[in-house]
Symmetry: D2
Subunit: 424 residues, 4 copies
């Protein structure tokens, strides 16, 4: 169900929906059960695919019942067990050795991975679109602006390159954390005690080693990486949240420029016609809707990232008394908003209309003051080398005061072509 | 649909759900349309009850279409018009004079009022429950704790009174803002220009005065208060959000005490048995689930309040370019979480188990150091009046070192009985 | 010492400086000591004015020593005692009955009151300046803008009135909390036990009543209001913080408009010449520095307010284990930044340059689309009353499409003249 | 000057003080000036060491004058020029080619590097201390706690290893960002136009290449890395801020455990005696002051990190209109608080008192329910392998239900010995 309160939410589709979480939790229980069997901790007859037992239709009831235990896992287990054949060994063995945090944290990682993959694809598309813009508009002159005022000449290609560098920074951080998402598998206090005991009861000589193998098998099945349990060590979440916020930073930064430069008095950029932006009362309006919605997400994401850090900082005991519970909805909201904004930003860039003539007009209107810095350099002190004369060009214009713009654009394009290269 | 990621969310029921927002938007359009007719701006035949035309089944499609214009109002209007009789005058007159922000802001106020009313009822119940606790445990001795360590004697009745004062502070702020929620009715740039023009076209001599009357009529119909349009003046939202955060502050403060004092080694308080708190793997566990979930909400609310202030601070032009759009989901989330936590806190207090004997045991175990402050007062300097002797009581115990506890409990009870009295 | 990292900080002067806090703490100890003597709890010879004993030169050493006990009060007491005459009764009696939180919380209230008073004065000045602007520019036509795009005609007087309403909202909230700042006087666990015991030892028959009187006397001396101790009930702080954030919201909203409308391509507003805004390299630049710095504060304040709410929500026991300690610097920073922004906003408004001609030019350039909404109203449906003809004015222009602008300006001016009237 | 409002602030010494910022700005100007000379853009006689010209005594006046231009660079330049010999070529050449943001951003990077280095050293010490604790207490039994309640057996060595993993996560992120801090050198709109022009005027054939060399030279002199200008691309700041917040997360998480486990009723841990923790009124108190102060920092840091992300997201034009200005004090506060908390955490760990006997007593008191999970595993369903009998040990106790604790401790110690290894 899309969120009516967050226009564009439908773009996120099933990413971190209630259905997605239920499906992921079932996958975790299934993978763990299979690993118990594979390692001969549980009997062969316990092997069962749980996937079809619980689904979208159960989300509402699971949500309602999740309060009794503070999380949905117990309710999910009750449902699973009630739908297994009455004499199924799986009824006994499902979830054995796990604790609810294992199931939920690992399921969230599966869901988060989908979100990260969605964002990665959009970032790649944006790198390509921005590289094209930077190349195409290398020599498109415009006025550079600082603190809202005209400063010195600039080029739109350089602006696109600056945007590109922001996206590259974000993409590099995201690439780093989009891999090796870890399972969380430790049992009650993250010692794998129950699994070790079950292995012992099953006659295995080294219970703890078997328990570690069960965890490793499960990770492999799920395509996640093994790592020591992190029930109260939440960097696996916060580092990924930070990377997502880094993305909305980069997108918000571009949206702000589009919003400003598409003001009618400036009119250098415009969102693509035909993507909406109508008004409920003014037939004349064409609003920069995508930029508005991206900006909204960018204003919102930092506080969501901070909530996850706060939850991490408030970790306590061997499972936290509220901080952990704060994470789920926060991560969901951050992830969905980022996926939506990723897609909107790609659309924004792919349809962006650049009015080079208007850029030139605005620059012309800023003459001669936009060259005041340059002129102040001529005849510096008594230094004859700096005095105009033969060297200083009386008829040189804005196009000759772009400094290293070309080199800087090339550097950004090179970095993009290399697939990133560090935020410095 | 309850939120699986926020256990307890079902307690909020329909408060600020997608359905509730749609229903509220339709109510706003209906009330405005009726006022246009009543003031003879629109013809009598335009009078139409829109309530049945759009409903719960349309939420999803409205959510999906809301992105095109950045908000759901245009899509809602299209749906309404498509379902009106083909030749209905209402098709022409619905929404005339309004802008999308009018509809959405006013609808949100209607939704918010429901949330505030829910919270008020719970606060009243909590004041009653806490007053009972304070009275009942006036003489229940316990050890006072500061910075986690034993300090001096205390009573649980006084602790309940402190909790009560927190709830009274919150309730007084909430009462203040739970009334006079304003409509937002101004048209495109909040000048009522279109409505004034329509009144003029309808032959009314003073268009602006008529337009103001249409707005006032609409407010009356909706039970909201009139106020000048506040499209970019957002205190009507932020003051209410602040009051909601004040509530979760008070509840979180209590939940923290319950979480600490229900630790097995302390064991002075316990959540009511039978409300859940089970573990997915440990049959011995009885977790303080309500406190955990209340604490979660209290950790979360401040940042949601801050988001609404940020949106207010980022207001711009005659309608904001993203800040406004950030408000809706933020307000919804804050309101629902507060409603849920309100209800959970009432349950927590009504079922709270107080173990007076254990409080006494913990206090006894803290002797004699818990009276060290008192002893340090005896024989101060050379001041004979302060020397023990006849005045100081050798056998006086913790019960005699409670100072003004009774007076302070009475003061809190009086304040509760008076129905509050100012946060100071 | 002004903060180099926060340009404009010097405007806050001594508000909530280290010196101010030390001075306020000494005032609290002095007032309490005097009250002990007045109520015959301490002997007459203990009466001592502590004001000259500790001062600005001691701030650094107090800061350094404050860590040992987690707050500066114990170090302050050691310093006070070391500077009292060796045989002074005050050495024995200073601080008797208090706890460090009493001293610090009450001192912070004294400091905060100064900050609130500073802000109030600026708000009053701003109300006056904005009322003047609204009156003067009632008929100054400009284009109204929504979502960055031209919408329909507007007037700068109405914009000033909208700004005014934002300031009035903020001022009303601030007025409400700028009075009755409470003392915090309760002793170790807020029961006044030590003071009650001392009164008993001094032969007073009803120790608790005497202790309450000592607290009331102290409040009177300090000009603060009495209230039950609020050591872990922090609404007295959060409500005031929220009001301060409400102020920066209102100021940020205006600064955003100035920043946008002073862009060279729009050029409708400008900050006063001569207040700075130079560039370190571009002689042509005149930056809207005040608006930039106000905007900075407005972006920052919400998170500071949220920190204080978080501290409130994390209250625990009879004194909190870290949440309390988070408040001091947060409140100081919020208060100073608000005082600075208050003063900057007054300057901004008093020097604001309004270019009515340019507003007219921009409006003219927006014709005819800026009247598209109006034209869409003419000939609505088959409704003859709405058809132009005699009623619709072919030659009516933007000045005739201002709706209730005059009425709304008057309403704001009336509200200002009445000294506020509720945020609705 | 230490901050009286933030006990422990003196530990940060000069890190990001006003003096440090002034000194760093002068270093940037000096390095740039030298590079201009080295690249023959400026004449040899312009070479001047500016270091002694401005210093600590000037901070106050620079702070006061910084408001006029919105940042302290212009005021600094005025001061520098006024103190250079009247006919010094440096007067002409200092700052040529730079803009104020170049100087301030690069100076902040120099200051931040000092802070990061301080934190790195503490993290290394903590890794060592925690490794020792994990080794020493591998077999120190305690009760594991989840959601505040007793769960199953645990060992303090495993708890130390969990803490260690949190610190390793933080350290690895910090190591990653503690290197390659970039210069910001681009001139007015980050095109190096002025420097390129000056090079041209100096007769150099390829101005832009020379300008890039000047920037690279400056970076080398300062020990910073070259990177394309990032005036409105702020990942170089936000990634470092995120890493600092990751540190306080890890420290806060440990402080919370110490605060809980040092409660008198639990009494398993204690802060080192003799580091303070006294009360201003209660001679019996020994407060866990370091933990309290660390917790305070951990509650505060996330919102500071979020402020920097917000500033990044609000970037605009070629220099931002307020977002940039928000960064300085935010970064300073975050960096100092992190440095202080780093040092306090090292002290906390090095003096931590572990009461193994009390841990055993608390565990014993939790029997038999603390083994309820284990017992529930025996005789699972009809599976004979799981039935007790010969395999299940009737007399096996908590020490036999630690599962993979040893393996997990070893894994953490290995990771520490390898110098980290990825947050997963």
């Amino acid at each position: 169900v899309s969120d009516l309160y967050w226009p564009g939410d439908h773009r996120a589709g099933d990413v971190m929906s209630g259905e997605a979480l239920v499906e992921a939790m079932v996958r975790v229980e299934s993978a763990w059960l299979a690993a118990l069997v594979d390692e001969s901790v549980a009997p062969a007859e316990a092997a069962t695919d749980l996937a079809e037992l619980v689904g979208a239709a159960d989300v509402e009831v699971l949500a309602d019942r999740s309060e009794a235990d503070g999380n949905p896992v117990t309710a999910l287990l009750a449902l699973l067990r009630s739908r297994l054949p009455r004499d199924s060994a799986a009824t006994t063995w499902v979830h054995r050795g796990l604790t609810s945090q294992d199931v939920l944290d690992t399921a969230l990682m599966l869901c988060l991975r989908d979100a990260l993959d969605r964002v990665r694809r959009d970032l790649a598309a944006q790198v390509s679109l921005l590289s094209d813009l930077a190349r195409a508009h290398r020599s498109t002159l415009m006025v550079g602006r600082t603190l809202t005022q005209h400063a010195v000449p600039f080029s739109f290609g350089r602006k696109a390159a600056v945007w590109l560098e922001g996206v590259l920074d974000a993409a590099e951080e995201l690439e780093r954390v989009a891999v090796d998402l870890p399972v969380q598998l430790g049992g009650a206090v993250a010692t794998l005690a129950a699994t070790s005991e079950l292995a012992r009861l099953a006659g295995r000589s080294d219970g703890p080693v078997v328990a570690m193998s069960v965890a490793a098998d499960t990770a492999r099945t799920l395509g996640l990486s093994a790592r020591s349990p992190w029930q109260t060590v939440r960097a696996p979440l916060t580092t990924r949240a930070d990377a997502l916020v880094g993305c909305t930073d980069a997108w918000g930064r571009m949206a702000n420029d589009v919003l400003t430069l598409s003001r009618p008095e400036i009119a250098e950029l415009a969102e693509s016609a035909g993507v909406g932006g109508g008004s409920s009362t003014m037939p004349n309006k064409r609003n920069p809707v995508l930029s508005v919605l991206i900006r909204r997400a960018a204003l919102s994401a930092p506080s969501l990232g901070a909530q996850l850090h706060l939850a991490a900082a408030e970790s306590l005991d061997e499972r936290s008394d509220g901080a952990w519970h704060l994470e789920w909805a926060t991560l969901r909201t951050l992830a969905r908003r980022t996926v939506v904004a990723a897609s909107q930003t790609t659309d924004l860039l792919s349809g962006l209309e650049v009015d080079s003539d208007q850029m030139q007009r605005n620059l012309d209107a800023a003459l001669p003051s936009v060259l005041a810095e340059r002129d102040s350099l001529h005849g510096l002190g008594g230094d004859t080398r700096a005095v105009g004369g033969a060297v200083g060009g009386g008829d040189r214009g804005p196009a000759d005061y772009l400094g290293a713009t070309d080199l800087l654009i090339d550097a950004a394009l090179d970095r993009a072509a290399r697939g990133g290269g560090g935020a410095g």
